[in-house]
Subunit: 153 residues, 2 copies
DNA sequence: CGTGAAAATTTGCGGAT
DNA sequence: ATCCGCAAATTTTCACG
């Protein structure tokens, strides 16, 4: 588990602000050549440090103005139940994220739906159709901020 | 609030799989010219449908192998308390996401730290230093999946 | 890690439907 | 209002030192 290099960190820090920034731009910011950034970026991808690049979308403008976190408790909390539910819920069209957690609940499911009616329907029609669900608790999201992870040198 | 067009949806659907895909590539997949994709992509950015592009990082490889969701209850839950805490917690180096929610808690804070000791220190040293915190409940994240929002035609 | 050159992409402009 | 072709500017990519 060798620590990641300082140059890689600097590249990621600059790259993180905009996944589409040009290598040339990144190179100028971190003070190396574009080729070096190219090589490092490729290596970071290959090693899986950079898993991919994604779009930050305004879901409200895409017809899904209501988001919620739904805490779910599964019974029994066995591997097969956990993995089965995880895979099933990941593929629902409403789901935008799934956390498998310790504590009061086994899952926190992050969903985005059209409106409150759709949220209610999701919880009482789709979720509770699964026999392994022991308990559900819904929290509406008023605001959600993603914070770019701070990468200190 | 006019609904977004079918072409825009198709572009976003293709673009979403990799924010760095070339316009040419996207154009080939959706069946229009690269210029059109360019124009649409720019318009989507300008309108804020696409807020930005981000890197999907493996935080474990960056020395932050433990993630958690921390439910926080604030007293009083007034606008100034809520916004004050939100802004403060957003800027902590451990924070990678902040949800402002209804329900049992006012916030769900998503953090990534080096190890369990760092998590414990974060909760009992940093968080509870804020006078407005009434209650905290920590859930360790065993697994976290981000799901690209499904954009149906 | 860098240089240099070739290949590919992005981007602005004008024009067609 | 939408979409495309074209060509210049820029960026990515690779062989080599």
């Amino acid at each position: 588990m060798p620590d990641i290099g300082d140059l890689d960190r600097a590249i990621l820090r600059a790259w993180q602000t905009d996944a589409r920034r040009s290598l040339r731009d990144l190179a100028a910011e971190v003070g190396v050549s574009a080729t070096t950034v190219h090589d490092r970026a490729r290596a970071l991808r290959r090693r899986g440090v950079v898993r991919g690049t994604s779009l930050d979308l305004d879901l409200a403008q895409l017809g899904r103005g209501v988001q919620a976190l739904i805490a779910v408790r599964i019974r029994p909390p066995s591997r097969s139940s956990i993995e089965g539910f995880r895979d099933w819920v990941s593929d629902l069209p409403e789901t935008v994220g799934v956390f498998v957690t310790s504590g009061r609940s086994d899952f926190i499911v992050h969903v985005a739906v059209a409106d409150n009616d759709a949220l209610y329907a999701f919880v009482i029609d789709r979720l509770t159709a699964r026999a392994e669900i022991a308990d559900v608790e819904t929290s509406v999201i008023y605001e959600h901020r993603r914070v770019p992870p701070r990468l200190d040198p």
